[in-house]
Symmetry: C2
């Protein structure tokens, strides 16, 4: 990597979170030290068949793992902490600092992955400053977001202060009373901020994002007027929303059954740490609430995004064994669909309605607000911190561009702003900023069985589109097929009559053997022949693929198996066999 | 199917278009006659691997094909005419009546599918009334929609007039000057409408849908101020939008290159029929415009929905061989993403921006309006036609429910409104409406090779998620494996070392043979044994599936091939072989 003259520089290298929403992972590097800020997971797209988790390419970290002195965590969302167990399986991170709630959630994750002993977790308080290695100090600044206990971070470097906002909106009436520490931001702005990295998620949205508290009166009205049982679904990690719903359950004298593992987990930790306060007897099992009068029941579930396995989705399909929709139930979607989930969500809503539920959903109901600031929040952040250099982060490309334009509009010179991509090496000196290099920035896909290689994904794509034809043919040492091949079609549409298709396959194999056999036979020793069975197999597969394209108008994967005759014959026996042409294998 | 006493009834049976947007297909039946209204295709969801087209279940039509006297087409959109070629391959439709543009587009389709001779296409003019069979008359009423030459239809039946709105919005300033024939609707309202079936697409949207003309000034401003080349993408079938764009190209003295087969096709037919008027020399080839000064160039393309193979998508990926983005190009998305396409669209926008284009997109730009009426349009339709009975159609369940509530709010009694599903048989008499039966209403999936059976789709799903393991093992007539099996993994993640996994598979086969062989052997004749190879294969596949789940934590499809030994041995030879245990197959 280039080094800019003699001037000391800090390098900022995002491995994820740019040109996407997800897998936020950022490296800060000074001389021989690296600190990490967050390590999240991304979410698979529809083309990533079977994949559960998307991780950033960790090549650079694996190569430079000896430099890592520690990690900062801003808050406990999956796209910020979900990747940490995978990191710890590959290299050491001596210590991880973060908010109490995130550390509690992370501890569960590390235990589940069996890597709890690989690092030290340290909870921090607002305004706490921790030293990481020799070069970096991290100062935790309380911010407001959809999960409780969230921080922006001022990273003190030898070159000056870099502020990373983490995820934020500016909520002046936070549900938990924990205000955004605007004073600390202003203090840094006054003293001088070298560089700001700021959340761009809602950079296309004008105005301010409404306070989380604004949903309270609207949900309150629904609680007051709902007939029948009430069911509420929201993001499992939205601690503030869960607090509002539980407060309202208390107020309206309902018992709460919580359905969905991740939501139970969040509520347990949030109660344990005091972010949610409510009596134990507010909660009941599903079985118990099924026997309560309808107006005393609140069911709080996962599935607000129509996730296939989540509780609300299964309820909507009538597949939840303990919970069935009753006519007159009111179901509240206290969440907007994330782009990409719209179809699953509206299908879930339709199914619930068809079973007789009244469903309350949609942007005009005032029952959901974003956890990310809009344009006016961004401007306030820029105004308070007055950074010399600006890097928009956490967003798709057009959001970054919009955010950059806003910063320029507020007086930051164009040359002091960089719009970057994952893997870009941003070099920051006291008086310049620029992209100087690239590190590997692809993705690593993980399914239940492990890392999914691109070649495997390509095969799955083909299998998904056109299926697979499996053929086993017995070929003797003279290059002749014995009997008929055995064929299996899976995921393949066949209009051609089966016996005819089998005949076509058999003839194609015969033809290929006739034309190509000699090319794959050679003399191993003077007295023995050798057959390149793998090469021959490849040749037959190619002919069969052409056959499938012609006869089926599709391109299934073709797997041809040629069980090898047991013993290579000696030349003499080969000659003998050739004359009799009768022996199989 | 039930018949209600002696009273004559009309049956309305929608096969598609309800609880969905797509494959609009509706049957009207009276005594022994059936007419069809539209026959569209639906669009595959992400789980429908490899599928290009979704069709309604045609079982009912195949069974009753002798009753079909003709078809009415309301307009030329794919989700209203795309299914007709598939219908014509399965049964006769003696005659199809519809607007000129739809008939021109349909003629192409029928020719391409080789079924042009199967029916008679008849173009109709506004207010034309045609007789179909003995019982039905169809009266075509000009309406306004995003495609030119669109109709609502008054179906005169022996019981009274049924109005089907087709797709519509109420546009008082239509681009082509063809006004909605409100007078004819009012006349029917005055005389009495037995039943209204009305488009519900935007039943959740308050207010009026803006006129198509409202996009003109906004696009005009973009044409006037754009630096560099201008590229516009919209729906290929939006004739009015295409007309606006071409008019603006003339006004701003730009030459137009049209990219994308479907758009070229629409423009050709629309010009031919006079819906778009412009000089021939407005158009240039891509090659020619590449040599013109940037400000004289307009490129009009498909791909407004981020469709993988469409021109704009390929341009954004740098994969279009004739068109590359130049820094300074302005790209206009004159279309909103249909739910489900959002991710593809924003990814396309991001890629275009990263290549240096300025991209203009989004709802706040006033460069797209819907072709479907909102709540106030619906109310006006109900107010003009004053139907006795009402059936909301063309929409997902919650849209139908909203539309039904609107009708009830306007004074139609609840018992005169039915919210129906595909396959419901709605029976209409002079004084009652109700759902009396159900016909098959599933879906038929079609890929390049033909109809995709549900079992094939299920296999593709498994192949996509976890891949396939293919095993060929040689087993002799004594139930012993000969040599090692041959295995192939495709789309499978294998952490286990290959040779070890092969060994595990081999041992599993041995174990299964040892434990289960006897169960699959029987005596065919006194002197011959018979082996149930298929059953044995199934047994081995089950053991291998368990092995995969245990060792790979995944559930790939397992295909086991046991090439059958050539000749079943006689009992005596079997005994002989058993003693020597040396012969393979």
């Amino acid at each position: 990597m280039k080094q800019k003259g003699e001037q000391p520089t800090v390098k900022i290298i995002p491995l994820g979170g740019l040109h996407e929403i997800g897998k936020n992972t950022c490296i800060f590097e000074y001389e021989n030290e690296i600190i990490l800020l967050d390590a999240g997971v991304g979410f698979p797209t529809d083309e990533m068949h079977g994949v559960n988790i998307v991780l950033p390419d960790m090549t650079y970290l694996r190569k430079n793992s000896h430099k890592i002195t520690g990690m900062i965590v801003t808050h406990g969302h999956e796209d910020h902490i979900g990747g940490i167990p995978y990191h710890l399986k590959q290299f050491d991170i001596p210590v991880i600092y973060g908010p109490r709630l995130a550390m509690a959630l992370l501890q569960d994750k590390l235990e589940e992955a069996g890597v709890r002993e690989q690092t030290t977790l340290k909870s921090v308080r607002p305004r706490e400053i921790v030293r990481i290695g020799k070069s970096f100090f991290a100062e935790f600044i309380r911010n407001t977001h959809s999960i409780a206990d969230s921080f922006s971070v001022a990273i003190h470097t030898p070159l000056g202060v870099i502020i990373h906002t983490g995820d934020f909106k500016i909520d002046h009436t936070p549900v938990d009373g924990e205000h955004f520490d605007l004073q600390k931001l202003a203090e840094h702005g006054e003293k001088g901020v070298l560089c700001l990295l700021s959340d761009s998620t809602n950079a296309e949205v004008p105005g301010h994002t409404p306070s989380e508290s604004s949903v309270y009166p609207n949900l309150d009205r629904i609680f007051a007027t709902a007939e029948g049982r009430l069911m509420v679904t929201t993001f499992a990690s939205s601690v503030h929303r869960l607090k509002i719903v539980l407060d309202l359950a208390l107020k309206h004298e309902k018992k709460v059954a919580v359905v969905g593992r991740s939501m139970l987990n969040t509520i347990a930790h949030a109660r344990n740490l005091g972010y949610i306060k409510c009596p134990d007897d507010l909660f009941e099992s599903i079985k118990a609430v099924n026997h309560l009068p309808d107006d005393q029941v609140l069911i709080l579930t996962t599935g607000s995004q129509g996730e296939p396995l989540a509780a609300m989705t299964r309820i909507s399909k009538g597949e939840h064994h303990q919970l069935k929709i009753r006519s007159g139930d009111t179901v509240v979607f206290s969440a907007n669909p994330i782009p990409g989930n719209t179809i699953s969500v509206v299908n879930t809503i339709d199914r619930l309605m068809m079973q007789g539920a009244k469903v309350i959903y949609g942007r005009d109901q005032g029952i959901h607000v974003s956890g990310h600031g809009a344009q006016e929040d961004h401007k306030l952040m820029l105004a308070l911190t007055k950074p010399k250099f600006f890097v928009p982060v956490h967003g798709e490309h057009r959001m970054l561009v919009k955010h950059a334009a806003m910063a320029q509009g507020m007086g930051i010179p164009e040359e002091n702003i960089v719009v970057i991509n994952n893997g870009d090496v941003v070099e920051l000196s006291e008086d310049s900023i620029g992209i100087v290099d690239q590190v590997p920035s692809g993705i690593e896909l993980v399914d239940r069985s492990g890392v999914v290689q691109p070649s495997v994904m390509k095969e799955r794509q083909q299998l998904a589109e056109d299926g697979v034809i499996t053929v086993a043919a017995a070929v003797n040492w003279e290059g002749q097929q014995i009997g008929k091949p055995e064929i299996h079609l899976r995921g393949v549409v066949h209009k051609v009559e089966r016996s005819l298709f089998l005949e076509l396959i058999s003839r194609t194999i015969d033809k290929t053997l006739h034309e190509r056999w000699q090319a794959f036979v050679s003399n191993a020793t003077d007295d023995q022949i050798e057959v390149d069975w793998a090469g021959l197999r490849g040749e037959i597969e190619k002919s069969l693929q052409r056959l499938a394209r012609r006869e089926l108008q599709s391109s299934p994967l073709v797997v041809c198996l040629l069980p090898t005759p047991e013993q290579p014959p000696t030349k003499s026996s080969y000659r003998r066999r050739r004359s009799t042409a009768s022996i199989a294998f």
